[in-house]
């Protein structure tokens, strides 16, 4: 009972922090997107709090954490009253409506998410990367009041040098009385699924939206990481959300959407630092979009630079600065980078291995189910029969390509990212992007139009 109340309190505080972020950015979203985005932003804010306390050499204790959380929520909500007025007038009267045909897929989704949430709550953190890194650091931070603690006196692996996104959230939730922390992952999962449900419904009939979400949630690897805390699922969530707002910026040209997209990409980088390489691969799309909207070459270039600033800043603070100036052990990041870039052999080999061993193989079906084949079926149908790609579909297809080609590049630049662990999990990012493409695809739009028509028997 107390756990439930504490969870509710933390969730409300995250909601308020996220609301504050959206109000400062002056972004109004429709109701279905508003709450999940607030929660995701709130979790992102919370994940920075213990880390910032550590950077400022402030002891990490329940009283300092609580004070910091409350201060941050108050500070972010500087525009609270005017933002509330805007939201009220934008939404009008609230009417919760679930149509009959939504029920089957919603029941399946709720069933899968409930199991996921239970396992996330019940089981202790399991992945070795977590136990040997963020979880150990968080556990001893609670005991010793600092993220730089006795864990570093033991023989450690590179896992203790990963950015402190998970460690920070584990510290907050363990401090609040959850012995295994972790339940914040369920908040991210549920928020993201709700976000996707409403985002997909903008273009596709809800019967197909429910089906798409079931396809995605039943990807075996993805479903497993909805209750096993590791970096890859949160990274996929923030990466997808960033792209959603970036592509909306392409359409509506509102700068606040651009900034929200850049911020979310920064958070995705804070979760997994190599994401900033992928953010650079998105720049050609941004650059072209700016030129198409009659911006000069230099303004287009400036937009590209500004987009990667949050990602670079968070990378710089959480990796080189933190490791070199705070941690008691050295970890030369530069030694992890491939120095023989002239030899492209490993790049092509990694690309081939991803296809032959991870995706198009028996192992691929074990990891990812039939999802990629469903995506390819939709893509081929669009290419052969529909032969029309609207701008949104092209944007999401580009995003899919960024991951599909970006991961071989990452494996080539950072050989430490092995195939059957880091790359296998890193490819989780591609699934929400494929879902977004499919919802915007010609074939899904065709079916949606047919489903909108009245039928009587």
């Amino acid at each position: 009972m107390i756990s439930a109340l504490l969870f509710l309190l933390l969730t409300l505080l995250q909601l308020s922090a996220g609301f504050g972020m959206l109000s400062l950015l002056r972004i109004n979203l429709k109701r279905g997107l508003f709450f999940p985005v607030c929660l995701l932003l709130g979790i992102a804010v919370f994940s920075l709090i213990p880390f910032i306390l550590q950077l400022l050499h402030i002891p990490i204790a329940p009283y300092t954490l609580n004070a910091a959380i409350i201060l941050v929520c108050i500070f972010l909500n500087a525009r609270f009253f005017s933002a509330i007025q805007q939201v009220r007038s934008a939404w009008g009267k609230f009417r919760f409506q679930v149509r009959l045909y939504e029920i089957p897929s919603l029941l399946v989704i709720v069933f899968l998410l409930s199991l996921s949430a239970w396992r996330c709550y019940y089981h202790p953190p399991t992945p070795r990367d977590l136990l040997a890194g963020a979880e150990a650091i968080a556990e001893f931070t609670i005991r010793e009041g600092s993220m730089i603690n006795s864990v570093f006196s033991v023989d450690v692996s590179n896992n203790v040098f990963k950015p402190p996104f998970i460690a920070s959230l584990q510290i907050i939730y363990k401090s609040a009385g959850f012995p295994f922390g972790q339940v914040w992952l369920s908040t991210i999962v549920v928020s993201f699924v709700v976000f996707l449900y409403h985002a997909l419904s903008e273009r596709t009939h809800k019967v197909l939206v429910g089906l798409l979400l079931i396809f995605m949630l039943t990807v075996p690897e993805l479903y497993a990481y909805t209750f096993m805390v590791l970096f890859d699922f949160p990274n996929a969530v923030f990466f997808c959300c960033s792209l959603y707002f970036l592509f909306h910026f392409f359409e509506n040209r509102q700068r606040n959407f651009f900034w929200l997209a850049a911020l979310l990409m920064g958070i995705a980088t804070y979760v997994r630092s190599e994401t900033f390489v992928l953010s650079f691969l998105l720049l050609p799309a941004l650059f072209l979009s700016q030129l198409k909207n009659k911006k000069t070459f230099y303004r287009a270039l400036l937009a590209c630079v500004l987009f990667v600033v949050p990602a670079l800043l968070l990378y710089f603070v959480s990796v080189p600065l933190y490791i070199n100036y705070y941690l008691p052990l050295s970890y030369p990041v530069s030694e992890q980078v491939n120095t023989n870039l002239a030899d492209l052999g490993p790049l092509f080999k990694r690309f081939a291995d991803i296809n032959t061993e991870l995706i198009f193989s028996e192992t691929g079906i074990v990891y990812y189910g039939y999802f990629i084949f469903i995506f390819l079926l939709v893509l081929i149908t669009d290419l052969v029969f529909i032969r029309r790609f609207d701008r949104n579909a092209l944007n999401w297809l580009y995003a899919v390509l960024v991951i599909y080609l970006g991961f071989p590049l990452l494996g080539y630049l950072l050989p430490l990212l092995d195939l059957h662990h880091s790359t296998k999990r890193g490819l989780l990012k591609i699934f929400p992007l494929m879902v977004m493409y499919m919802a915007n695809s010609g074939v899904f739009r065709w079916f949606s139009e047919k489903m909108q028509r009245p039928y009587h028997f």
Binding site: S105, V156, S157, G210, L211, G369
Partner: protein
């Protein structure tokens, strides 16, 4: 029958068809159905130690045993335990997946080193198998430690 009902049955048909695909059906049985059965059992076992033991099994319980033995034998003095590899224990019929030092520290708050670690020379206690039991003994001198390390390093050391 109007549109809503038609779409309702269409939705059920599509979802059912999807889960009847071979791999999806076996996944659904091995995961969601199994997890549902686990839930009814797990809600009767809510203790923290029960959950840790249930999840980590022998690697947790044996680690806790070694740590308890170390505290009992070594007292409050500085203590570093040398623990041989998983393959060593397997060779002697003990099913113990040795966690890496930081994970052992997370489980037990005790320091261990692996035989291939440059810090292995700091060990003042070592674990080994005697008469089918896992025991710990103190390091009496540098030569004993060196001989012990040489022996332990003959066994494959891996995560």
């Amino acid at each position: 029958m109007n549109r809503n009902w038609l779409l309702f049955f269409l939705s059920i048909a599509l979802i059912t068809g999807y889960f009847l695909l071979p791999h999806n059906l076996s996944w659904f049985r091995e995961r969601p159905i199994a997890y549902t059965n686990d839930f009814f059992r797990e809600r009767q076992k809510m203790g923290i130690e029960e959950r840790l033991t249930g999840r980590f099994g022998g690697r947790y319980t044996l680690s806790k045993y070694l740590a308890a033995e170390l505290r009992k034998r070594a007292g409050n003095g500085g203590r570093v335990l040398l623990v041989p590899s998983t393959s060593y224990f397997k060779n002697y019929g003990i099913d113990y997946h040795v966690p890496e030092p930081v994970v052992f520290y997370y489980y037990t708050k005790e320091h261990i080193v692996w035989p291939d670690s440059p810090n292995a020379i700091r060990a003042n206690w070592y674990a080994h198998v005697r008469n089918g039991q896992v025991v710990i003994d103190s390091v009496t001198d540098k030569q004993t430690l060196a001989d012990t390390l040489a022996f332990f390093n003959k066994f494959e050391i891996a995560l």
